[in-house]
């Protein structure tokens, strides 16, 4: 027993879990701060400045405030579902961390179907949103939840098709294999269309502007989390940012070479820093997009997915397959 417990696989899992728990929380808090700073500077204002140096501790204070707040249960809400939903939205996000390749040999659990696992679990998010929106007994929340389901189904398809084109190039569903295949040339140069489609769909998957129609502040007040207060809202909030990290990290692994430096030049910097650097740059781009564009209308969003994204990604997949066969 003790031998099994101390075996490297177990140790790795438990250590990894602890690190993931700590990292995901800190990372989410940092991202909230970063978002506010990016938004601020784009809008010619400094963002949070008062708590800590350059407001670094602001989000921690916000978190404490949220924990201290009352959880309000709306009248006639489905109590169980209402409280389960925020937990449900956070859990699949944590699972994603299990298979992310932070660096060579820095995977918590090496899996030969890592890509599949992440996308399988990321679908859970929409379930949680639907549950939360439904349980709130609020028409705005319900509208947001319904929108979210439609949107996620529409964007899952191009997302997976884009990922497919990478997978058939490597012939593996393991992250490490995919990253290793990009040692010299990143897949974004070989698969620019798939990369772009992945980024757009991923933004939509995470409900970020300009695809934030499930929460659509000016239309649906706060969408599916209209009725959430305190840490219920906090968990939705943290999940959004952790989700953003996951999709950016996946994009880094699939298209931007993971822990590899550009064109095989690593400059002596450890792979994990390359990985994190690229991930944060992608996150910055997602934030930058959010603070630039207005929101897309619901039907246009669906049209864009079914009429542009899916045909283009399908065509891309076919072309990739043909080219691979010819080579």
């Amino acid at each position: 027993m003790s031998e099994g417990f101390l075996s490297s696989e177990w140790l790795r899992l438990i250590l990894g879990l602890l690190i993931v728990l700590g990292f995901s929380q800190l990372n989410a808090l940092f991202l909230v701060w970063l978002e506010r700073k990016v938004a601020g500077h784009i809008q010619l204002r400094p963002g949070p400045m008062e708590v800590g140096p350059h407001g670094l501790l602001q989000t921690i204070m916000d978190g404490i405030k949220l924990i201290g707040k009352e959880l309000i249960l709306p009248l006639q809400a489905d109590k169980k579902l209402f409280f389960v939903a925020p937990v449900l939205v956070f859990m699949p996000v944590l699972v994603g961390f299990l298979v992310l390749p932070f660096g060579p040999n820095m995977v918590i659990h090496e899996m030969n179907v890592g890509v599949l696992l992440i996308f399988a679990f990321s679908t859970f998010t929409v379930l949680a949103i639907l549950a939360g929106g439904w349980a709130s007994n609020n028409k705005y929340a319900l509208l947001g939840a319904v929108r979210s389901v439609a949107q996620n189904i529409a964007y899952e398809i191009p997302l997976l098709l884009a990922v497919m084109s990478v997978v058939i190039m490597v012939n593996s569903l393991s992250f490490s294999d995919i990253v290793n295949a990009q040692r010299t040339v990143w897949f974004i140069f070989l698969q620019p269309v798939a990369g772009l489609i992945y980024l757009i769909s991923a933004t939509a998957e995470t409900n970020r502007a300009p695809f934030d129609i499930p929460e659509a502040e000016s239309e649906l007040v706060a969408g599916f989390h209209t009725e959430y207060s305190g840490m219920g809202f906090g968990l939705f909030f943290l999940a959004e940012y952790t989700n953003m990290f996951i999709v950016s990290a996946v994009a880094t692994s699939l298209f931007f070479g993971g822990w590899n430096g550009p064109f095989g030049i690593s400059l002596g910097i450890p792979g994990v820093f390359w990985f994190l650097f690229k991930t944060y740059v992608l996150i910055f781009v997602i934030m930058w997009v959010r603070w630039t564009f207005p929101r897309i209308r619901f039907d246009q969003l669906m049209n864009f997915s079914w009429k542009v994204m899916i045909p283009v990604s399908l065509a891309n997949l076919v072309v990739t397959a043909i080219v691979l066969k010819l080579i």
Partner: protein, 155 residues
């Protein structure tokens, strides 16, 4: 063809928009961190009204004629005065405004026959009760006169 064209020009317009926001990232900020930094007020600034201190008399020139009281659209002002000598002119002794009702239109200042009213430069007006908005201008004037005196002594 137009399908691809639409996608291309649509995408281009998005990139142009992102260029605008990216440039702004490096522009100087316009925010003034308020309690630490303050913007100077314009000379025309309208705070609540106050009584002017005239250099020649060292005090106000209110004659309690009540014209400001009458012209005020929202009954903000209460003035009382008394005659110091039996045949002499009236002098204002009591001037209270209820700032919560004031709309800062300036009619009282324009109508004042002795020009003894002016807008103050007071803008940090915080109170927790409604009565905090009631300002006794005579007491305020007395304070200001006192301050002036101590300043003069210090100088």
């Amino acid at each position: 063809m137009s399908y691809l064209k639409d996608i291309y020009y649509g995408g281009l317009s998005l990139v142009e928009g992102m260029a605008v926001t990216f440039r702004r990232l490096f522009r100087p900020l316009v925010t003034v961190q308020y309690p630490r930094k303050k913007i100077p007020l314009f000379s025309a600034f309208r705070g609540h009204t106050e009584l002017k201190i005239f250099e020649d008399t060292g005090t106000h020139k209110c004659i309690a004629c009540g014209q400001c009281e009458k012209v005020c659209p929202s009954n903000v002002i209460q003035v009382q005065g008394k005659k110091e000598q039996p045949k002499g002119p009236k002098v204002g002794t009591h001037y209270v405004i209820d700032f919560s009702k004031c709309s800062l239109c300036g009619l009282c200042i324009e109508i004042c026959p002795t020009d003894t009213l002016q807008f103050s430069k007071e803008y940090q007006l915080v109170g927790v009760t409604q009565s905090d908005c009631v300002i006794d201008l005579m007491a305020r004037l007395a304070r200001q006169v006192e301050e002036k005196k101590t300043q003069a002594i210090a100088a």
